[in-house]
């Protein structure tokens, strides 16, 4: 049975490739990335072979504890847990529990994260290859540790399966998850600083953690190397006991989950909330705008990018503080304008086949384009103005205000116009509705990249006048260029905006069914 489950997982992986050769490319990129991390970890661990035992033990135990924590926590926040072998799918197959359990655990190892963890853990054997006993102990510890990782992850996913299945939780967790991801840079800096400041304290921490389920398995090799057989034995016991406890808890939860499928229903709500549809004008374009804006707030794929926006100034602030170059901060407004405007360049792809409603109702392409652009504009315009004035106020470089305003408004309107054309003609591979924004999307990734890069290239060309004004002011220091910029930006921007809506609308009118056919294929 274990072999069956393993081969099933392997089949699923291979069949994924057969769907499209591009999936292989995606997998190869992922594998390369994982290989890089594994290589870095492994070479570090090999280098520790010649470090003093205490440092090695501290690094191995703390690193291992982090890895187990990661395996347990990531499925919670990313909702990207691997559900290809969802236990609930085996409910009807009457597989005995004692065979299903090890099968699922080992199958959980088969996959990039599992293989990477296993390889990195095995590198600890090299770290402790100072004597045969220590190396053997490290090998046992590594295997116990990796198993603990997988079982802990399975336990957590099973425990919160009904929570994970609820749409509301998925929505919120995938949005919230973006925040630490965005702030990873500053956070890593802070942690490195913290570690540097508390270096003396770390061995003590590692020693304490090595007595807990998180660190016991990883400490076995080090204890044996230090000649502390009793300590090693204790830690083997702790690791085995915690693995058994995790496995037992998983067993109980899985047994219960098999007979009680997750309940996903929500309460029902009465009518009477037209929401934004009551606010926007009752025209086709107004309706499209109301719908789009509702999606910006309710759909995690949109809301995710909206959450990122307030973090941009924070990132820029940290960036400019670190580089000591205050001027960097004033670039935040044009960049935000560009990012927000460009975010609707895959709008029709985000609709997925729901676009059929637009096609069926015969809404004119122009109204479709205008509505989507207006929805984005309704919050992007105030935000960009706020960022422009705010960043200037913080840096005190008021002579730059006209130029930055012109450049930001130009970027916003030009970007919206261009995005309206792009999304009317080309589909992109984006996560399907209801899926995590981090999920690897199905569809043509190569075309997506090509369209995105080409689009940004065209964007840069269209923005040349505004960019030229900024460069001219930077070079000459003359504020005149700023005043030209604040005039030229909105005028050119609005011209491109109008042209983009018109052209995109005409293309959509002509090729609506073809767009829909592409969307159906991407599904």
């Amino acid at each position: 049975m274990v072999a069956h489950l393993l081969s099933l997982k392997w089949r699923l992986l291979l069949n994924g490739f057969r769907r499209s050769p591009l999936q292989i490319v995606g997998m190869a990129v992922g594998a390369l990335y994982a290989a890089g991390i594994v290589l870095a970890c492994a070479s570090g661990l090999v280098a520790l072979r010649w470090a003093d035992p205490q440092t090695a033990q501290t690094a191995v135990v703390l690193g291992g504890a982090l890895v187990i924590t990661g395996w347990a926590v990531v499925p919670l926040v990313a909702s990207a847990a691997d559900l290809t072998l969802d236990p609930s799918r085996f409910t009807t197959s009457a597989i005995p529990m004692r065979e299903l359990l090890p099968g699922l655990a080992l199958a959980g190892l088969l996959g990039l994260p599992g293989i990477a963890t296993l390889l990195a853990s095995l590198a600890t054997v090299v770290t402790w290859s100072r004597s045969f006993v220590a190396a053997a102990g490290a090998l046992v510890g590594a295997l116990l540790g990796v198993l603990s990782c997988v079982v802990a992850s399975k336990l957590v996913t099973t425990a919160v399966a009904s929570l994970l299945a609820s749409r509301r939780f998925k929505d919120i967790s995938s949005i919230v998850f973006i925040v630490p991801l965005m702030l990873a840079g500053p956070m890593v800096t802070a942690v490195v600083q913290g570690v540097r400041d508390s270096r003396d304290y770390l061995p003590g921490l590692a020693e304490a953690i090595s007595w807990t389920p998180l660190g016991a398995a990883w400490a076995i090799g080090g204890e044996l190397d230090a000649g502390n057989a009793a300590g090693a034995a204790m830690k083997v016991l702790i690791a085995l006991a915690s693995l058994a406890a995790l496995g037992g808890a998983w067993y109980l939860l899985l047994k219960r989950a098999m007979v009680t499928p997750p309940y996903t229903g929500g309460g029902s709500r009465k009518a009477g909330k037209a929401g934004l549809f009551g606010t926007f004008p009752a025209t086709p374009a107004g309706a499209v705008a109301a719908r789009s804006l509702s999606y910006w707030m309710r759909d995690p794929r949109y809301a995710g990018s909206l959450v990122v926006v307030p973090l941009l100034p924070v990132l820029f602030y940290f960036g400019s503080a670190q580089s000591g170059n205050q001027e960097l901060l004033i670039a935040v407004a044009p960049l935000t304008a560009f990012l927000l405007a460009w975010s609707i360049s895959a709008d029709v792809s985000y609709d997925n086949t729901a676009f059929a409603l637009h096609l069926a109702t015969g809404v004119r392409g122009r109204d479709d384009r205008l509505g989507r652009a207006l929805a984005c504009l309704s919050f992007a315009l105030p935000l960009v103005l706020l960022f422009a004035v705010g960043s200037i106020a913080v840096t005190g470089r008021w002579e730059w205000l006209p130029n930055i305003l012109g450049c930001s408004l130009g970027a916003l309107f030009t970007g919206l116009g261009l995005a309206s054309v792009v999304s009317a003609r080309w589909t992109s591979a984006v996560p399907a509705p209801g899926e995590s924004p981090f999920k690897k999307p199905p569809g043509n990734t190569a075309q997506t990249l090509l369209v995105q890069f080409a689009g940004m290239g065209v964007m840069a060309v269209l923005l040349l006048p505004e960019i030229a004004m900024v460069v001219a002011q930077a070079a000459t220091g003359s504020a005149v260029f700023g005043w030209i910029g604040v005039g030229a930006g909105p005028v050119l921007g609005l011209a491109f905006f109008t042209a983009g809506i018109r052209l995109g609308g005409r293309w959509l009118d002509r090729r609506g069914p073809e767009m829909f056919a592409q969307l159906s294929n991407n599904r």
Partner: protein, 281 residues
């Protein structure tokens, strides 16, 4: 404008409709059919999904399109409703060419496509309003009709719930409401009863029968023969991208039950031989 006579421009390339096809009434001014398909054909790569389908759906009829899985029902209906561009042929809605004057044709029909997503982050009420507003309807009219539609389809108490939290049957019903909001003259429903519970199904049937009684035309695709036989007055049997028989239900079933006639026409029906072990327990 009337569609060209059956098979006219495409007879050379496309198959003529088979024997069960009703001969058009030779009276001086034949009534304009609600939907007229003329030599529709579509291929996907190597596979010919629809191989020259011509069909007249009389105005005021309750028309069933039946066929086995993969017969080309959905492809045909998509081409008839302007969702999928045909390789050959075209479709006329009350005499308006769907592919030459799409905006006009789309005003006349309401469609329920099968297997497409909905804008499911809207509440049920919002989704139906959205469909109305997209068609340029007045806000007050939309509001009044949405309430009535939701009440008629028994969705009143879930009107404010997001469609993403609806059950499969409720999604069908809300999609049907979106198709009805602009009071179309023709309704094209692809598998409207799939995963709909019996109570809702009879509820939907009631609405559709009332709609036909007041002069509307309904086309439903289904593979539930019983349902089609009880509900529809006309039926077309489609298999492998062709029309095998079409006409009133009485004509097509010719005394037998529609299901037996269907199996005879489509020709599968291999007897369950070689499964002896199934009887041995």
């Amino acid at each position: 404008m009337t569609p060209p006579e059956n098979g006219g421009g495409y007879a050379g390339r496309m198959s003529a409709p088979s024997s069960g096809y009703p001969v058009p009434d030779p009276s001086p001014a034949p009534p304009v059919p609600a939907l007229a398909l003329r030599g529709l054909a579509k291929r996907f790569g190597e596979k010919i999904a629809v191989n020259g389908i011509s069909l007249d759906v009389p105005a005021g009829s309750f028309y069933g399109v039946v066929g086995p899985n993969g017969a080309g029902k959905t492809t045909t209906l998509s081409m008839a409703t302007g969702l999928l561009r045909p390789d050959y042929g075209t479709a006329f809605i009350h005499g308006v060419d769907v592919w030459a004057r799409p905006l006009e044709a789309k005003k006349l029909m309401g469609i329920l496509p099968d297997g497409v997503r909905l804008f499911d982050r809207l509440s049920g009420e919002q989704l139906v309003s959205y469909a109305g507003l997209l068609r340029g309807m007045d806000r007050a009219v939309v509001q009044a009709r949405v309430q009535e539609l939701l009440a008629a389809l028994d969705l009143g108490k879930d009107a404010g719930t997001l469609v993403v939290d609806y059950s499969a049957g409720m999604r069908k019903k809300i999609a049907l409401a979106s198709a009805l909001i602009h009071a179309p003259r023709l309704l094209v429903l692809d598998e409207p009863f799939e995963s709909v519970d019996p109570v809702s199904a009879s509820n939907i049937r009631g609405i559709l029968e009332q709609y036909v009684a007041s002069g509307g035309t309904v086309i439903v695709s289904s593979h539930v023969m019983d349902l089609v036989q009880r509900m529809c007055d006309h039926v077309a049997v489609v298999a492998a991208g062709r029309v095998l028989a079409a006409g009133t239900v009485e004509e097509v079933r010719a005394g037998a039950s529609l299901e037996d006639r269907f199996v005879a026409l489509v020709g599968g029906g291999t007897r369950a031989e070689g499964l002896e072990w199934l009887r041995t327990f």
